[in-house]
């Protein structure tokens, strides 16, 4: 029996600048792809106004239910399989990759959002901001 107090497991796949989420669904990859990239289909679940010109360099936008509007620039499209774009607000920018893969009884969508890093920032940063934070917090707490 699940303990209602039990916190979700931390997402250990995320490195310090990216977040990954994944769902398995029972529709085939083509339908899942269409549900994501077709403006009308996407508008039905996104929760706000959204439009996308589905080709590299294409523009778009997406509005969250809380009113946040992100502008979109499509970077790469592999029809039926992979969409990579950048999106941004006035004070934040990140890159998003959506990958659709077939499964025996449906398909899987994997989303990775990575915060934009300025310039040549950060290959070394890939290792453990969380670890450093815990280290600093522990030491300060003592």
């Amino acid at each position: 029996m699940d303990d209602p107090e039990l916190p979700d497991r931390p997402d250990t796949r995320a490195d310090d600048r990216s977040v990954t989420r994944q769902i398995d669904v029972e529709v085939d990859p083509d339908e899942l792809w269409r549900t994501i990239v077709d403006d009308e289909e996407r508008a039905a679940w996104w929760g706000g106004d959204t439009e996308l010109d589905l080709r590299p360099g294409g523009d778009g936008h997406a509005t969250d239910p809380d009113g946040t509007i992100r502008r979109i620039r499509v970077d790469e499209v592999e029809p039926g399989r992979r969409l990579a774009y950048r999106w941004w607000t006035d004070d934040d920018a990140s890159a998003v990759e959506l990958v659709v893969l077939p499964r025996p009884d449906g398909s899987r969508l994997t989303v990775t959002e990575t915060r934009a890093a300025h310039g040549a920032l950060a290959p070394t940063l890939e290792r453990g901001l969380l670890e450093l934070e815990l280290l600093v917090l522990c030491r300060v707490a003592v």
Binding site: D16, L109, V111, R115, H118, T124, L137
Partner: protein, 104 residues
């Protein structure tokens, strides 16, 4: 908010600065001279790194007479983590909505 986060990520991109920050957290309040004593870099270099950490809000400088002492301020690291948590929550919500839509 974004500029502040960029400064934090930039400040932490350098391994020497991460080491200095850990030392400040461990030993603070501490001076640049104290830190330089057992680091393989000059006091001036340590001071420059501390200035970057200070600008990013990761350490706090207190001046007493001619002496400047540094202490770690971990709140800003927590802010960087909060961005990741927010983005994760947003995708959880979107993907739950997508699933509900497909299940219909």
């Amino acid at each position: 908010v974004s500029d502040a986060l960029d400064e934090i990520f930039a400040a932490l991109a350098d391994p020497t600065r991460r080491r200095i920050l850990a030392r400040v957290a461990d030993e603070g309040p501490v001076t640049a001279t104290g830190l330089a004593a057992d680091l393989p870099i000059s006091r001036q270099a340590v001071s420059k790194h501390l200035a970057v950490l200070d600008a990013a809000g990761l350490v706090d400088a207190t001046r007493t007479g001619r002496e400047v002492r540094y202490q770690a301020t971990p709140e800003h690291l927590t802010e960087a983590r909060a961005w990741l948590a927010d983005v994760g929550t947003q995708w959880d919500r979107r993907l739950a909505a997508l699933r509900a839509h497909l299940d219909r």
